[in-house]
Symmetry: D2
Subunit: 307 residues, 4 copies
């Protein structure tokens, strides 16, 4: 594929939108990010990397971390993961808490906060909060080949300090018996995993295995089984963008996961992995410019899984 016109088309399509959307402002470290930032990295199976803009600049991956902890949990526990979390889309945040009550503390899926907290709680119960976070960082470093990846401890502390809603969710699940550690211990790990800082380049590289049957095409390491790989992608397609998941599937047609730090991770099975970053969010918490970039990329490459 000739990438030059593709990248040019993406630049042209995103330019009018740079700076649009609302930057997450519930913690200072996110609020002060420059809203005009935009970066993108596409990593192919060959290892070739195409980039645009601020693709080198680390940002807070936030909820994108949920994809990696889900991978770890499926590798460690297999199908029993689904005893404690569903895999159906959640609807609105409003419905999400209704469903948590209605479904006796079983969160709808592992990519909403409640579900990701349960996943982390599983991992913590099988090792420890520190071990989980260290393993996550180690994997991200190894796959991106970059030892500088680390947790932004200021962000982690701010998340914890403002984390009343996540505590409410965790105690709510605990009241139904769906937490195995103390709420504070599991949330401690959860807040830290969300505070990992990575660049688009690092992020796309680290997730490359998701486009190639669970196996990193460069290192040949099998990260998750072929079965689980396609299922992680399925969960990302169904549930990766909160109450925007259907719209993302409609417009872009790739499995993806958004984070309130402005990042989006998208997987084009058999082709490659894309990471975008731009801090302005739409109402559902998905990066506006990132979504435009992915829409244009899919248009130009035909990578939608639906054709």
């Amino acid at each position: 594929m000739d990438w030059k016109p593709v990248l040019a088309a993406i630049e042209a399509a995103t330019a009018p939108h740079i700076g649009s959307g609302k930057v997450a402002d519930y913690i200072p470290a996110l609020a002060r990010v420059d809203p005009s930032k935009f970066g993108m990295a596409v990593v192919l199976g060959s290892g070739e990397m195409l980039t645009l803009g601020d693709s080198h600049e680390p940002f807070s991956i936030q909820s994108i971390s949920k994809v990696f902890t889900l991978s770890m949990a499926l590798r460690w526990f297999g199908e029993s993961v689904w005893d404690r979390v569903g895999r159906e889309p959640s609807g609105s945040a409003f419905n999400s808490i209704i469903q948590l009550e209605n479904e006796k503390g079983i969160p709808r899926n592992p990519l909403i906060n409640a579900g990701a907290i349960v996943i982390t709680d599983m991992l913590v119960a099988a090792s420890s909060a520190d071990a989980v976070v260290n393993e996550l960082i180690a994997r991200l470093r190894r796959f991106s080949g970059d030892e500088t990846i680390k947790i932004d401890e200021e962000v982690a502390e701010s998340e914890s300090a403002t984390g009343s809603r996540n505590r409410a969710l965790a105690y709510f699940m605990a009241s139904f018996g769906n937490m195995n550690n103390s709420v504070e211990e599991s949330l401690g790990a959860y807040f830290r995993q969300c505070a990992v800082r990575m660049s688009c380049r690092q992020l796309a590289r680290a997730a490359l295995f998701l486009a190639f049957d669970g196996r990193d095409p460069i290192t040949r390491e099998q990260m998750v089984s072929r079965e689980y790989c396609r299922r992680i992608n399925a969960v990302m397609m169904s549930c990766g963008h909160y109450d925007n998941s259907g719209d993302f599937a409609y417009r872009i047609g790739l499995p993806g996961k958004s984070g309130v730090g402005g990042g989006i991770l998208a997987v084009a099975p058999g082709h490659g992995v894309i990471a975008t970053w731009s801090p302005g969010l739409n109402a559902a918490g998905t990066s506006m410019v990132g979504a435009v970039a992915l829409e244009e990329l899919v248009e130009a490459t035909g990578w939608s899984v639906f054709v």
Copy 2:
């Protein structure tokens, strides 16, 4: 592809499940269907057709008709369809009515009853109830090349006689101004579209355009634009199986739509279209044997969109 072992594997996988699940019994015409029926048809781009079991026997397509009326609506009205219906998954039936209230009479997506009623209401407002039903039948006949396709009027009447919940949904939407015709007129067309009888062979053939960019690969007729084709597939992936959509994506990984008559339509983009039929349903109204057959087919062919 050598289809013999694939079909054999599907037969072997489904055999132990034949007869399982619960046959829809809210109307007599559905309740009296033999639960041990199982048929399957796979149509490829070349027109080649692979079949299993009762693939010739017509059944009530029910909600699978929603895919065809959505196609018609997108062709007639384009993006304005989304002014009156969303494209997000609905969650449980329970959440579905909460959301209808919360979202002021805009149903979550065109593949749940409320949304399909709105789609039919749009089509009826632009022509008439009879015209819509006639056009639907005409298209289904032309594409399947089979003039015998018709509506089961007994089923249509039974649906109407037992249709209190659909009337409730329609009047509810009408109270928010989201019905353009009289409720009875639009529901009349809706009940008839659900009562179309087709076999797996006819159904898979009629939907073949969905696997090939909106164009029927045999007749070369462009049924919907390439854009809308992939978007219909996206909506099927996100929303095609009520509160089972995430599970279907997880297990099978193909855009699909289930009907309470026991049919499932599934699209493998670039490869072909599959229709299965077996009357026993799971709790979310998806054919149990049909889902097993599709799971095995995807395993054997690697057609999941997620790898």
Copy 3:
């Protein structure tokens, strides 16, 4: 009691509020009512009647009719009424439909629309729509001693023409098996009962039995048993003002029922019955001036049941 200062205090308290609130405008016949109207009638056990303002002018009693149909139903069917309707407050309109789904088509209480429709459906099933409406009118005439009381057929027709939400509720209950007649038949009676026109004088007089153990203190006719009388009052206290019922109990402390026509009926057990009318409503559909008048009356008379 010396009523002169009491009435003067009420006049002084209401004066600054005359014309405030929002007149119901979903049908023309209600929308065109003069918002500056205010009438009040207090009827004592002796038959003595104290009045203020437009106490002679008939208005659409709307939901106040629910108290009379509940009385009829308890007299005709006794405790079995509660098999088909609850007696708990409903919360918001929003919650009301959630609960209707959650509680399998059993409405929360007989003073919200869904519950009153079920009550009317019971009465209609035991006689006919016409018989129910005729009996209601006959009773209202006899007790108020006024043969001019009648249904405003224009209002009844407008209610029917704009009644999508009530139809939705009725079909919704029908889908759970909680309607015994055709929806249109029972709703026909319901729309007509809501369209009764009465003045404050007529209304307070007709409900006098509710303050005196179910027996009209003038005619000595026992309208409902002592047991049911206090229980109707209890239901009015708990549920008489939609999601404003707690506030009404807090401020006024009398069993009452509001109607969107601007009327309020309030019962002071052992003392008398009060009817007020002023068309401007608060957000929960209770007359603003009427509530102020009742608040002042309770202050001046000490008639709150809570002291």
Copy 4:
């Protein structure tokens, strides 16, 4: 009134029900209470006390404490209490959390857990957790004239240890800005107030002011203003029994408050105050035998506020 036949009737009515219902078992100290216990105390304005059964035996007052903290809050803060908590009934526990989300962290009323936690949080913010609990105990001792009233610290600790749902509610409200202290501090006071142990005699005596315009008729101390007294009674009537409040009003017709320890406090304005205790609860957490006793008492005395 001749109390002998009244008490005899109550004994006869309750006898067949002794031991029925389900004893709260979420903490050991409640679970091990003898289910056959039944006590009752009626205190009149003269100070006369009528008793039945285990009226001397202290039990865990649990949610009945909410009436006393509400009284304190209204005395300390007046109407501003209602800025942070509503006064509408809550519907089911299920609806209660939906409404907490829908109404932005403002609980429906001060007699459900969420609302009582907010009330305690107000009191704690104006003094300290210890000061609030000490003041509560001091008042209860002074009014019952019994210095032995105290907190069961085992119960308080068990409540805290099993308090995940209350923590979820508190953090949920905190996420909307409706907690002024740390969640643990306010919950600490809340768990202790619920763990107060009192007998029926002490409880009825301590609440006597509620039947006499806010003034203790023996000591003449004005506990709350006349205005607030009747309003506390109104809130008890509307909201005192969770999703059973309407039924309690219907059957008994007195302002009341239930606790999961099996106690019920009921107020007969102008007559006296009644406390009952029997551990077996109905589905909504109200003592079954206690409700039967109150129903009979109201029947025999005519004390319902609705006649």
